[in-house]
């Protein structure tokens, strides 16, 4: 108990500091976990309860993401959404994969690293667009929708990574069955759910919490990744009243997710033969790769290089999803690599996003002269 309280208080203080410096708090939570946990001072150890709460953080994050994936909303997006999404996917997944292979990971590990490498942090990208007051720019719209595209791809990436442990055919049947089941249940109960959500007592909260835990239970029972079930549940419930579910699940997500990052930091062990150099190489490539893909997206969607720089500089930060992928599937060495990448890209990314207009102006001068 005191471990969790200590962890949360440490994170609270760090969040205050990082926000006053306009830096994303996630890398600080992880660093705090590293310093106070197994690889550091060993003040805070991880017990069962801590582990469970941190799992809840991940689960509520993914549920929340699922709520944003409204099927009809995505269907109505135009071709620009797909073009931007595919450019971003191809460049980053391939570059990440080959960079990881080049520094000595196995094929499976390289794929996990590449997935973490590909997926930007929606939370950080969105927070920085708001913070830096860029929402009027058409490029920020592209960037925000790119995050949605990445979230959809995340589902497939997790699916592919999971086929390492199970036969893909069996897994796909089970996943399709669960997705159909969830959507069907929500469809049948839609009226009752909407009515329940309107109440202002504790029932909507109990409903949300138990629905999410129920999805986890189904996953355990059928042996499919709970990540997929929870996202599917969120997406199914987004057809009812997603705003209400977001409002209710947000406090759970906010608190438990902090514990998730901290816990991830505690459990990292730097005992593998990952050299600092390798981690730096991957992080550096991760920054270049997003700048490059953003640049191409800007050219393709907005027809200008300067839009490309704007998009590229805004999507560098990797965060919660990369950590999630590493936490679920990564070996120690993969986790350590991804951690280094998240810390570096999120901090560099936040500065580049802040000074994107200066970068654009500087480059424009450079190319004119």
């Amino acid at each position: 108990m005191e471990q969790i309280a200590l962890a949360l208080f440490t994170c609270l203080i760090l969040a205050v500091i990082s926000k006053s410096l306009s830096l994303p708090p996630i890398p600080f939570y992880i660093l705090a976990g590293i310093f106070l946990g197994n690889s550091g001072l060993k003040i805070i150890g991880a017990d069962e309860v801590f582990h469970f709460l941190s799992q809840l953080g991940l689960i509520f994050l993914l549920f929340y993401i699922g709520l944003e994936l409204k099927p009809e909303r995505i269907r109505s997006r135009g071709s620009a959404f797909l073009i931007a999404g595919f450019i971003d996917l191809n460049i980053n997944l391939l570059l990440g994969f080959f960079a990881a292979l080049a520094i000595g990971f196995s094929y499976y590990e390289a794929f996990v690293v590449a997935s973490a490498f590909y997926i930007s942090s929606s939370a950080m990208v969105i927070a920085s667009l708001i913070e830096n007051k860029k929402l009027i720019l058409p490029e920020s719209e592209t960037a925000v929708w790119l995050m949605i595209f990445e979230d959809i791809v995340l589902v497939f990436l997790i699916f592919i990574i999971s086929t390492e442990m199970q036969h893909p055919f069996v897994l796909i049947l089970k996943v399709i069955a669960v997705v159909c089941l969830l959507f069907a249940i929500v469809k049948i109960l839609k009226r009752a759910l909407l009515k329940l959500l309107q109440r202002d007592d504790e029932l909507p909260v109990i409903l949300t919490f138990s629905a999410v835990l129920f999805a986890v239970f189904i996953s355990k029972y059928l042996d499919i990744p709970e990540v997929l079930t929870v996202i599917a549940l969120g997406s199914a419930l987004s057809t009812t009243n997603p705003k209400a579910f977001e409002r209710i699940s947000r406090p759970f997500k906010d608190v438990f997710l902090v514990l998730f990052f901290f816990f991830f930091g505690i459990s990292i062990e730097f005992s593998g033969n990952l050299s600092l150099m390798q981690a730096l190489v991957i992080s550096f490539v991760a920054i270049i790769s997003k700048l490059f893909s953003g640049f191409l997206v800007g050219r393709a969607v907005h027809g200008s290089y300067s839009s490309g720089i704007e998009i590229g500089t805004n999507i560098i930060a990797r965060g919660e999803f990369s950590i999630a992928i590493a936490a679920i599937y990564g070996s120690g060495i993969v986790s350590a690599t991804v951690t280094a990448m998240v810390i570096l890209t999120s901090i560099v990314g936040s500065f580049m996003a802040k000074y994107s207009s200066k970068i654009k102006a500087g480059l424009a001068r450079h190319f004119k002269s």
Binding site: R73, I126, L129, K133, L135, I136, L137, V144, I148
Partner: protein, 161 residues
């Protein structure tokens, strides 16, 4: 010159307007009641923006629509779009002991301050447009209309507050 609204997932809704002269104005409503107001000047790449809370946004909205109605404690200020420099305030006051028994005519309220008493509420009963002969009692709630400065004079000269 049409308003375009777009959804920004994870953020909220953005309303955009390109003005006749080519400047862009955007308003973003974010989910927990924060609002950002943007202006992007024609041919500029760097927007300026202000972050507003719900109250500030409503205030700006009502200024732009031309009718400022601000309910600040017991005062209301009204402005008309066609008469941009006319600002009328309506204020309520409670009559104290010092004015009890005195009539509106006796106090020469309008002559002295320019303020007109348009209504008096006494023990739940309302008198609209009280005549000059109307005498105040302690505890009457009066509704006074005038310009901001006239009301200030009324407060200091007549009410003695």
């Amino acid at each position: 010159m049409s308003i375009r609204s777009t959804e920004l997932p994870g953020i909220g809704t953005k309303y955009e307007l390109e003005t006749e002269k080519g400047d862009k104005v955007a308003i973003v409503f974010m989910d927990p009641g924060r609002i950002q107001l943007y202006i992007l000047e024609k041919e500029s790449e760097t927007p300026v923006a202000a972050e507003l809370n719900a109250w500030e946004a409503r205030r700006i909205g009502s200024i732009l629509t031309g009718a400022i109605i601000e309910a600040e404690r017991e005062a209301v200020e009204i402005a008309f779009s066609a008469l941009s420099d006319l600002r009328i305030s309506i204020h309520t006051y409670i009559i104290g002991k010092n004015l009890a028994g005195k009539s509106i005519g006796e106090l020469a309220i309008r002559k002295m301050t320019g303020v007109t008493i348009i209504a008096v509420s006494r023990k739940g009963k309302n008198v609209i447009n009280p005549p000059p002969s109307f005498s105040f009692e302690e505890g009457d709630v009066v509704v006074a209309i005038g310009e901001h400065d006239q009301l200030k004079t009324f407060e200091s000269e007549v009410l003695g507050v």
